[in-house]
Point group: D3
Chain length 333, copies 6
């Protein structure tokens, strides 16, 4: 069955799928844009003569793209965004292949446009929360966070930053350099010093790996502890995340799989040898419940984390049925 | 004035003072024992013919010792312990030099005895709080903590441990090795992973650099954030600390000076160069308020942190007047 | 006026109304389905020649059904669901009786279909939140909760359960037996032991009698205290509730009436006689504010309790005007 | 450019703008109604022959009105409400000036109708939350709060009230008088006595100056402290606010400008002279985060504060682009 | 060794030991008084001619009594109280058997006197915290609690009570009857209804099985959850406990053994059979950390739970070495 | 009986009692010193020939003084301090009138000396908690607080202050002036603005009217709400209070009577007339539980509020029996 539908796939779909699989195309936004474009290419190249054939082709293309990175969050969001607009905004009985094609191409274009502007627009939203003279504390490195700070600097605001180094991979060093380049005075601290310096900070500002339907924020390990500390001290915590980070699978209760990384990031082999036979746990992310987060800043505006599910359903559909599957293969949940 | 009193100092006092100053004698317990012994030596060597001369000599000896490391916490505690027992337990009108000498020698001996047994006894107290099968989370390295775990293991209890690496100096590696040597299965984690793994832990178990009269615990940077997380999740946090860590100066409101360490512990010079012109803050310790601590375990038993002031006054005196000063030089507080 | 409209009611409406009133038809889902079916029967049987007459008939049928159990929550939800779709999804100027009839029959069918699948789908959503090896704590008996556990077991997950007996009626005994039948090891405890055993649980999992617009959960007495304890210890609390439990009247601030039950459930008459002249309070339910609940699991996916109002308005309408009333009889709120 | 478009403005727009600027027209609801009416007048008076000219005229009219009080919250809401319905509910390619005109006039009328009924309907919603015998605590003076109490009294409920005087302007005196006139027994207290008397209160009931997209409530200085106290003691806090208080600019992260008032409200000049050279800070409002608020009561029903963003977007649009600007002048955010 | 010392035991010691072991003597206060009296009898009967022999006899008597109920808390407290006063208040070099005898007899008498007055005095202390018109909530049955209420009633105060039934053994029924007999209006509730009715209560008033050095209160299962609820709602929680409930063993970190009772108290055998193969957990007590308790009321006055360790050390000694052991058999901790 | 003992009173006692009663002598410290001095005068003037007569005279003098202001807190503390030292530090069988006289005179002198130095010493303790550059927030006016700030300024620290006006009597104006005179920049705010400005403050610093055995702080109305806000935001709250503010009656559970003041302080008669028939509640003080206070600063050092009971018992006795009563008239509690 899969073999049959694969035959009809446009070359652009195949080459995009290959490039995503080989990580030639990487980064949440880049992958998402490529996937939307591939669907548009498939739509334009389609020679299907009836709507159902056309829809089947598009689903096959989406499946091909989806299977390259089944746990990524931005890739299925791109596919969802386009496929659920294939039959137009409301309703499902388009009888005309050209109309379907226009819808797909239009939705892909709309998705691309959103994506193009998303980080900049999100940055302005985040910047508007910051006041002149504010001090922010950051964790890990997030270009969405950076966009907020940059926009604030562009608005003429003077900011300062406490930057957590973010063990084990020290992405805080990147953040420190970028902030310095923006003219923001930086104080670099070890992760353990966060609670000590939080009283000096006006905001905690972090990114997100993904955001769940229950309002939980999945982000770099250490975010949850930082958020708990910030809440205890009354410091607002803001998550900057484009809507491609929303995770529609979680609507149906699915928890987000947390990547476990190589223990050598935590302790080098020689030290490991000295210590002897121990375990090393190195999860990449943790989960911060919504009650520790004040606002999620997206390119669609800011939201309390408890309301992000509404935006998620609006953009990517009310249920989590996988629209790239053939109807008879869909097993809900 | 100082010069005059110095003349009467016994050689043992001078050599001990020198060795403390040169850090030949180091470690909280070792310094404290040496200081008590030096006072006893001075008392035994004294040829004073009247009580007031004897007292002046002892105060001079104590001053000499105290000035070698004025911010240490165990050194003045040793001096306080002995000097406040010089005139016997209660009252101040001993008229007999021999009685004073006996008191000083006896108090120094008592102090030494306590110190000798302190870590082991503390360990038993801490061990009694642990149940077979418990999981502890540790921060930094503390021999008092280790003593608790060791005593629990000796009691036949099976324990497991999550060990935070404790940036920037990774003392967690030492703890990991020692616990492994005791047969305790260890999982090493980055400091940021503490909140993620706290639900697996039955206790947080940390040491103390010093403990203040208001019940605050001064300990390795990161302790306060860990304690906040543990309280939020209902995990008990226990501080293991011998009574020489109690800080009588804080009775009069003095805050404990927090050592700032070399920034190269946080970021090496080459990375620092890449990042550019930033600050690096590297405080050695932080302050955990008593409301985040369940119990302080000492060799005198366990105490809620809010009650430790009672033990402090019992052992080291009700006020913080410095007993090594001449009465007319004492400026209260 | 009522008399006149009653004349037009289909026999199916009358018999359904009778059976609901006599509690021959009982259980939230069964009542709701019967009510939707009765409206469909009325629509199909209608001989109305103009839309307004048809609408009046349907409203009269709905009124007849509604008045049988005015405080139930699922019954009016069924009526709302069908009546607000009578004129099609958007707009109100359907001019054709057949279209109205099709809409009513279709909506009733859709409602039935949702209901048929609801518990199973909800179960899958809830199950997705559970991980292999998890321990859940339950209160009272809820088939929605059971559905979550059953789905998790079907997914091959091993679960264990602490089951509160749930005085005064001991519905926990039913839950215990059902869980055991699913192969889930059960530990039965008195209600007072919940706080003691919560540290062993990974989730609190309860059902709901109804859910209010402000996100409050009305459920068996004892739920609120359990939720407070769980929050204090950081244990997530999940409410499993089909959308027929959403209570649209609460949109307008109405509080949910709490049933007071016979005191003999609490204390038998003989003991009561021994104790003497006291009051016995036996409320069936209590109210848990949303800040103590992590997620509400429905057949439409999971939601933070603070967002459930959005789903409520989507399914049952934005306002709480009672659609079974004649327009001129509606008194808002 | 501005000059050109101004020429086309109807006299009604000019006179309304003048009256708003001179504060002849004042009060959130009155301003909003006048602005909506002025747009309707402009639409009716328009002689535009093509849709784009008509739209430009309406935007110009809206700009003229908006510039009179750029920081008010109800005025732009009126303009947004009407302008975003100018092209009909969904879509933007109305090609007929008459349709646009009908839409504008209809939307203005709808807005007026909502406004007319809003306070009364809100009052009923709020009243439904109150039970017979309840005690409420109020801060400042709010006619929305009064409407809730009045509706409850109309429902036959006996209420009592603790009324905070609300320094510096003592608006509590007005509330006290109004409540007394409704037959509600009042106890007047200084603001500092709130925590003392909260255990006697069943609800805190306050109004709002405006409500932000992140669920924060901007209200009279003192609201945030009162809400923190109420949460600490478990007393529900309800905010009564018509939807014209929702602040769509905050969707894009904008914080609400807090008015600073004359220091003579706080301390008269003679006392000030006695005290000498000090600062006096007199902010009119403060910001209460959503986690301290149980419900926001509007004429559209009650909402958890975390969900109010959904209502805000529904009524006033998803983004905060200012619809009175010409498309090429819009700088998003 | 034990055999040898046993020879010297007075008949009164043997008969008291027998009666305690056979539970002929029962109840915390009765056991404690009997033990103190037996030591006095031993002292009076002693024919020892030198102090050390006398001391050995007394320790042997204490050992004999102690071994009858090694986990009781009041019994060792009686022994500690008397033995630590054997050598007079301060110091240990009494050289005169008669002085030792007088000390023992005097201490036993003092202990008895305290005990005689303890409950009544405690009752007055507790009563002083209650105001006329207050409502208390109780859990389980405690004569110390009853004494507080009785004293308040004697002071002319009108009280009301919510009485939790306290599953599984329904000791609340006893409390309900006793309170009713005192003229206190009682409302009996199931344990799960506590959170629902706490807003009506001014105090939670419970007894204690024992109290630990870290300020934890060991009391009937359900106390900890009740205390958490009460703290969340700001209702003060008071523990009424005579000082014989203080548990000096906990000074050295020992946790209090929690009795597990017969599962048939929870579920009768027939129901158990219906449910099938499940566990039933029936712990008698739970542990409430001090942060959930406002005051511990004793006959020596009221104390914050964090300070009770000071009273414990004052009454029963600073360490937990068991004074009935021979010095060379004492293994600290 | 009273008449008889009155005959023996020294003239100094009578004149002091008169001056206290007429409020010629006023202020907590002044009253306390006068009372101690009067007891010393009585002791010196006594012609009693046997100890019991002397003791009776002193008790009579104390009674005479006590009855002048039975609810003051410093007056009975002075009497307690002296009377409980009459028989020497430990024991009660002084058989020599001269020894008793010396003890009384000495204790009175000691009490006076403590009092003389108390505020200054307390100030130094409080100052030691403050760091250079800190911002404090104050409530009401307290010379103990002022002493802390003055000492900090003397130590060369730069401080700033937010001063709450403290309705209804605006004692904040006095604080503002005094702080300004010390060179501390002041920002005066209405009480309601405290929560808004707390994030700018490093400490809340308040005095106390009295302090209870359970660690509660009785202070100017508004203190409890301020403390709750400060705790919520993690701002430390320090209470500065000399030990004469400790309230030994509370050891036995007595609650502190809260003075209700004239309603005209809250609302003038004319405004009152306009408002109509309402209640005005004007309590002078409120009660802050110890969990909201970080430290109590006294002249004897700083203490966590949960430990202050230890200091109270040390200074004023373990029980609250009134030592001025004849033994046979003492009714405990």
């Amino acid at each position: 069955h899969g073999a049959m539908t694969t035959q009809t796939l446009d070359e652009a779909v195949e080459s995009t799928a290959g490039a995503i699989a080989s990580m030639e195309i990487r980064g949440a936004a880049t992958i998402a844009a490529a996937a939307a474009d591939a669907l548009a290419a498939q739509a334009e190249a389609s020679t299907a003569s009836d709507p159902e054939t056309f829809r089947r082709e598009l689903r096959a293309a989406a499946r091909r793209l989806h299977e390259t990175r089944p746990t990524a969050v931005s890739l299925p969001n791109a596919l969802r965004y386009v496929l659920r607009r294939m039959d137009g905004d409301r309703g499902g009985d388009v009888t005309d292949v050209d109309a379907l094609r226009r819808n797909v191409v239009g939705a892909a274009q709309e998705f691309d446009d959103r994506l193009d502007r998303a980080q900049e627009e999100l940055g302005k939203v985040g910047a508007n929360r910051l006041r002149d003279g504010d001090v922010v504390m950051t964790h890990c490195h997030s270009t969405d966070v950076l966009s907020c700070v940059e926009a604030a600097v562009d608005q003429g605001k003077q900011l300062e930053a406490y930057v957590k180094e973010t063990r084990p991979r020290n992405q805080g060093h990147i953040t420190a350099r970028r902030l310095r380049e923006l003219g923001v005075p930086v104080t670099l601290i070890v992760d353990s010093a966060a609670h000590r310096y939080l009283p000096e900070a006006d905001h905690v500002l972090v990114g997100a790996d993904s955001i769940a339907a229950d309002g939980s924020v999945i982000n770099k390990i250490g975010t949850s502890g930082l958020a708990v500390s910030a809440r205890e001290l009354g410091t607002p915590i803001v998550v900057a995340a484009q809507t491609i980070k929303l995770h529609p699978e979680t609507l149906t209760g699915h928890t987000v799989e947390i990547e476990t990384r190589d223990e050598r990031e935590v302790v080098d082999e020689s030290t490991r040898g000295d210590i002897g036979d121990i375990e090393v746990a190195n999860p990449a992310f943790d989960v911060t419940p919504p009650r520790y987060v004040d606002a999620i800043v997206t390119e669609s505006g800011q939201f309390p984390p408890e309301s992000i599910v509404t935006l998620m359903r609006e953009l990517f559909g009310e249920s989590a049925d996988e629209p790239w599957k053939e109807p008879d293969e869909r097993i809900t949940h």
